[in-house]
Symmetry: C2
Subunit: 472 residues, 2 copies
Amino acid sequence: MNTSYTAITPSILEELKAIVGEHNLFTDTERIENYSHDETSKEQFSHMPEVVLTPISTEQISEVMKVADRYTIPVTPRGAGSGLSGGAIPIHGGIVLSVEKMNKVLEIDEANLTVTAEAGIVTNELNEQLKRTGLFFAGYPMSLETCFLGGNIAENAGGGKAVKYGVTGRYVLGMEVVTPQGEVVQLGGKVTKDVSGYDLKQLYIGSEGTLGIITKATIRLLGVPKYASNLLVPFRTAQDAISVVPLIMKQGIIPTSIEFMDKSSLEMSCSYLNESLPLEGVGAMLLIEIDGTDEQQVEHDLIQVGDLCSGHKAMEVYIAEDATTRERIWSIRRNIAEAIKVYSPIQSLEDVVVPIGSIPLVLPCLEQLSGKYNMRIPCYGHAGDGNLHATLVKNPESSMEEWLEMEPRLLSEFYAFIVGELGGKISGEHGIGLKRRSFFKDVTPRPEYQLLCAVKQALDPKNIMNPGKILL
Amino acid sequence: MNTSYTAITPSILEELKAIVGEHNLFTDTERIENYSHDETSKEQFSHMPEVVLTPISTEQISEVMKVADRYTIPVTPRGAGSGLSGGAIPIHGGIVLSVEKMNKVLEIDEANLTVTAEAGIVTNELNEQLKRTGLFFAGYPMSLETCFLGGNIAENAGGGKAVKYGVTGRYVLGMEVVTPQGEVVQLGGKVTKDVSGYDLKQLYIGSEGTLGIITKATIRLLGVPKYASNLLVPFRTAQDAISVVPLIMKQGIIPTSIEFMDKSSLEMSCSYLNESLPLEGVGAMLLIEIDGTDEQQVEHDLIQVGDLCSGHKAMEVYIAEDATTRERIWSIRRNIAEAIKVYSPIQSLEDVVVPIGSIPLVLPCLEQLSGKYNMRIPCYGHAGDGNLHATLVKNPESSMEEWLEMEPRLLSEFYAFIVGELGGKISGEHGIGLKRRSFFKDVTPRPEYQLLCAVKQALDPKNIMNPGKILL
């Protein structure tokens, strides 16, 4: 694929400025440095753009792409920068195109249960604006206080409620996309079924900004469930906790969430938040949410799940019914990634996903790798989806060189086990991005990899749209 | 796109015979005639293949595709031939590749709630084999007694239960596909989340056999809901009936089905089945199903929906709780398409889908067109999805020439209204196929159409894979 690009000259800058206006373009080192990394380890993955643009309309983005296409300039779309696979890092320099100023709700259509919003709206803000309608967007990425809708879609974000509600893509009915050639395309609409042509909408969902820039989306809304309740269930060992997950999933009740947190994760997050939990003798906890429109049904399901845990080595079953306690516990869960990062900025947050029945097999593998490579690997995640966020943490005593040599070796072994032995995938919701692209190539059979390259080549023949991500 | 193909010579036939064996290849006119059409009007759309193959394995299909690729021979994949858009018609001759002999369940994985089966299994047969597990595949196309799993996926079939359960694509976790070049690709797996590369699986779902041949699929199963009950609700006018649908959808209960049937559809089906319904003074009926794991909840929801209908012009609300009565009513619904076909073989079964809130606007348009073109247009369908099967029926008094002149003019007007005025799509579940390809080109904005062509060109550069379908 092409990686020979035109450097941005003063005259190209002038062209760009004429499109977006001088307030929406900057090149000073201090400001553009913020756009050189995402939530992956800065030491390993950052790269400076030549210019950052913050366009305010689809038309501006379209004109920018036409310039980039004409001169062959790489363009890296950027949401909130909360990504976890390096997707927003401009590794070939060029333009970072941030949608941060396109953050409006455009329409709430209560008759059709949809909301249409710009890509730069913060996920939580979207639900705030929907509150009065009694409707909500069911996506619940852990970064919902910062992440943008456009980023959710570009990564097909999962999150804490995907066991019941599924991932972001299920809710995207329509979207507006600017192609690498600067064409504006409307995909889907307010219809719930559609087989009119290939599913281009789904092709863009999760494409990590490598096929085009998502500028607007129409999202299907659900009624806010009237009742929700949580169980917090400690187990003596991580293996005991994780082994209950397939049993819960098999009994016919669909919980909203089944989150797994091992002791290290819990300790780090509690310490980061200055919170406390009864962790004496605890190896791991499950956080289980049930919601619904019928209070008795929610309670009934909760008791049934609680009983099942009790019958399978749970030390206790705590019920958290009131909103404050629930938010406290969920905050501990949501802050684990950040807490581990504060504990050690050099780390690798993993995102493997395996068939539900195989979840119990992941932990022994991690334990073995942790021993072999002398590296701590706290683990937590969306166990109900088979999606675990094992996190490799650099041993404070080992050098950066050692880390850079050990981390890929460990990951290769881990991924080979996940994909080869368990039929899993190396990313469930964070994406391949920059960070996993060489591993992805390694674990993907050649014919499938060629299909992916053919699609990329067809839609972005000059390879200017977020080049170097997903595919090598 | 290439449409210059090699005719199948005796020596190519020998090559194909060596791959599939002589029992799986035939060229005699009488037998191949069965493979020259699907459920679209034979008079308008049939075309003879040069040879029909019934391979028994993925390996055979792969070898056949390599031969087709080498000689540039068009290959039309075929399921049960129950398609409604001409997708299985070999309009350029060449090979029809039927998966009818690949009809086995390969694995029922109760731990992961999945079934893996070959593409040629009949939908109903799949659920029959699952019965003992208490699990089921939630797809429910109206042709479930004949249609194949592979065809369901290739068309992304919807059907009678999509309001609650969604369409086929939601349940396809993994699939095996043979590419136009004869490569065998495994997409997805038993995982519920996956952002490892573009969503190729979803690209093949609904691609109508134009990008490759689906040979196997792994399907996510659900627990069979313990309780189900139906309402049959007559209204004086079709408009009264359809106007209730958005109201039902807005109140927070998600029915399994909301089917709409106008008087003509009901009469034709009852007459075809020798059934009777109380149709005195009735303009249309809604058939509403509610299912669930809790009997009281099902009853409660059913009463709430029934009350809503009563408060909005329903003439009666009949409850059908027992399985026999339910199957009787559903049989009337399922047989409407066949009944209309028997009444008039020259007809056009439409499949438009509109935003739920706009459903009431479709019928006045149909009425106006029916008058203008002097053509009966019985209408029925999955109203809860906004998906209506208006059916243009040739007036017995008009000639075939008149029909061939009027039908496309009427459809152009109808589609322009549906897409341009209502933001709908011309096909919700039957596909574009052969029948709608020129209309599809007309209603699709040029940049989007170019993206579709780019994808097709990238994955099937010789245009041998079901050429002439979807795209012109």
